[in-house]
Structure formats: structure tokens, C-alpha cells
Symmetry: C2
């Protein structure tokens, strides 16, 4: 059985996941304890995939809130010697195409993969490998930043599942990959 | 009293209002007669402002569904001689800054202005003149196209009013300009 591939990510209303210098100040707000479904989502995944940018952001934070989840850093420039000391043994650095990574993880029994980070998400979207997109929009326009979405080889049709607005002004929409009725197989777009 | 400035526009999930060649095929769908509130919105406006791009698109369509609405084409390159014959007398071509246009229209008694078109919307957003943003997202990623949002001089904070999902997969969010509680005057961002 193929694992499910999910993206759970927040952007500004104009589609940026971070300012150009990586800052997330625009994302910080008093949510009144609301976690926008993140813990439930995180509990449902067994594998996390991120790119170099997200890895470096996490490594610099000094925290590692991913215990118990297999963590892959997908990068062609990092290698094992680059791993921060406190993270040795907690992650694997791999360089491969997203489709091959999903195959590898499927073979290892992964059931639910969480893909994170701008370029990595773009690579998975381009390869039409994202089964679920949980997109939270903050009510702010930044004007510039690191975009979530990028070039594609073809349109990617999605199916809207549900949308929820929160008191903070965050609006979270859940989409799933559109599969034509006449083709129920995986990758049917 | 200042007129209210509204944007009512649809984008792909990755923020494009049209393909690079202007095509809107991705926007066409069987809405089952649902107009996503457009007629109500249109009935509430007295003035429409568009840029050259939208004007040319409308002029080429041969239709003019704006009877009874004052229509401004905001352009520094068009002039009255460029107006398509069937549209002479139906629109005004003006070249000025958005803030000056709003002043002009306010002086003429405008109450509700509908700003349309990518670059024109960007100019009004950048000048922090948009009071209401009604944004509809289609559940498709295009990868490239004409973007709705552009550069800004500073963050633009918005307040989420409501979001509605429709059976077609379109999700429409309504935002208004955020005005800090300590400053109830216009332009308080």
C-alpha cells in the first residue's frame, strides 16, 4: 500500500511561507491555545520529509520536536558530516527524486508522510505526489518572501474537502488530490 | 464621506488571476447557477475601476455588462482615441495615482468602488486603499500565470470576515482592512 503524502503548511495571503530572510514574525500570534489541528495531524504521520532550508531552520532552533518520527532531509548538498551534533542519529540525509523517496519509504512500511519546506513541497507537487494539502492562510500580505508554490509541468487539480476559519483570522483549507471518477488508481491526474 | 473600495476577484490556489497568455479556462466550471455573490456585489457598487489589461479583455469580448456604473480605465498609455467604437461614451480613461482617483471619485459622490485587474489591484493594495477584499480560490495549481499580488511598501494587515466553501470547490474569503482599535480613522495601518 502506498503511503499517504501530506503537506501541512501556513502562508501569508499572498502565498509566502517566510520572509526573504526566513523570518516568520508575521505568523506569530496569540492563538489562544488553538493549534489548528497540528497535533492531531502530527500524531497521524510516521515519517517527515524536509529540505535543507527547513533542516537548517530546525537545527538552529536547538529543538527537535520529532521524536518517534522517521525524519528524512532531502538534499543533494548536505551530507552526514553536516549534521548538527545534537541531531546525529535522529535524521537521514538522502538525495533522490521525490517519487523514488516515496517508493523507498513505502517499501519500509511508511503509511503517512509529512512533507515540509518550500522547495521540497514544490518538488512533491510538481511530481504530483501530494495526496493531501492542508493550507493555512494568515490574513496579511507581505509583498515578498519565499513562495510556497512554484513552477509545474502541468496543472494540478485538487478537490476541496473543507475550510475552517478561526478567531485569529487564520483560514485553513484542506484539499486532496483530484482523481477522475474513471480512474481510481494512484496518480490518475 | 470616503467611498468604500472593494476588490472581488478569483485566483488559482497558487495566486494567479489568468494564465500568462490571459486565458481563464481553469476558472470555467459548471457552478450550477451559483454566482458566488457577484450580482449582489455588483448591485452595490456605483463605480468600476480597471486597468488597460482588463479593459482590453472586456473590449475584445464585445460585451459591456457595466451599464449604469461609472467606469474608469486607469492607464497612462491609452487615450480616448483608443476606445473601441462600441464603447465610446461608456468609460473614462484617466492617468493618475490611485489615491488621487479615490479623492476625485469621492468628490463626485462615489460610494462604492470596484477595483478590478491584476496590476490595478496591486496598485490599490500598495497604496493601502482597499477596504474590502473578496477573494475566491479555485482548487487548481497552475504553476505560472499573471499574479494577483505584487510588491508592497509594507505589510498589509487584513481582518478575516468570513469564508464560504462551495460545491464546485471554490472557496471565497472576505477580508477587510485592518484598523487598529486605537485608530479608527481611515488609513490607520
Amino acid at each position: 500500500m502506498h503511503p499517504k503524502v501530506s503537506v501541512y503548511i501556513a502562508t501569508s495571503l499572498d502565498g509566502f511561507i517566510a520572509r526573504l530572510d526566513g523570518r516568520l514574525d508575521w505568523l506569530e500570534h496569540d492563538s489562544g491555545g488553538e493549534d489548528y489541528g497540528f497535533q492531531n495531524f502530527f500524531d497521524s504521520i510516521d515519517t517527515r520529509v524536509m529540505g535543507r532550508g527547513t533542516y537548517e531552520f530546525v537545527a538552529a532552533s536547538g529543538e527537535w520536536p520529532y521524536e518517534g518520527k522517521r525524519t528524512i532531509v532531502l538534499s543533494s548538498t548536505l551530507n552526514d558530516r553536516d549534521v548538527a551534533e545534537h541531531l546525529v542519529g535522529k535524521l537521514e540525509i538522502l538525495s533522490m527524486e521525490p517519487v523514488d523517496l516515496v517508493e523507498l519509504l513505502a517499501g519500509a512500511g511508511a503509511r503517512h508522510i509529512y512533507v515540509d519546506g518550500g522547495i521540497t513541497v514544490q518538488r512533491f507537487l510538481r511530481a504530483v505526489l501530494v495526496d493531501e494539502l492542508i493550507l493555512s492562510r494568515m490574513p496579511v500580505l507581505l509583498g515578498s518572501g519565499i513562495p510556497l508554490f512554484g513552477d509545474l509541468d502541468a496543472d494540478v487539480q485538487l478537490e476541496h474537502v473543507e475550510t475552517q476559519g478561526f478567531p485569529s483570522g487564520l483560514v485553513q483549507s484542506r484539499y486532496r488530490r483530484y482523481v477522475p471518477l474513471s480512474d481510481s488508481s494512484r496518480g490518475g491526474i
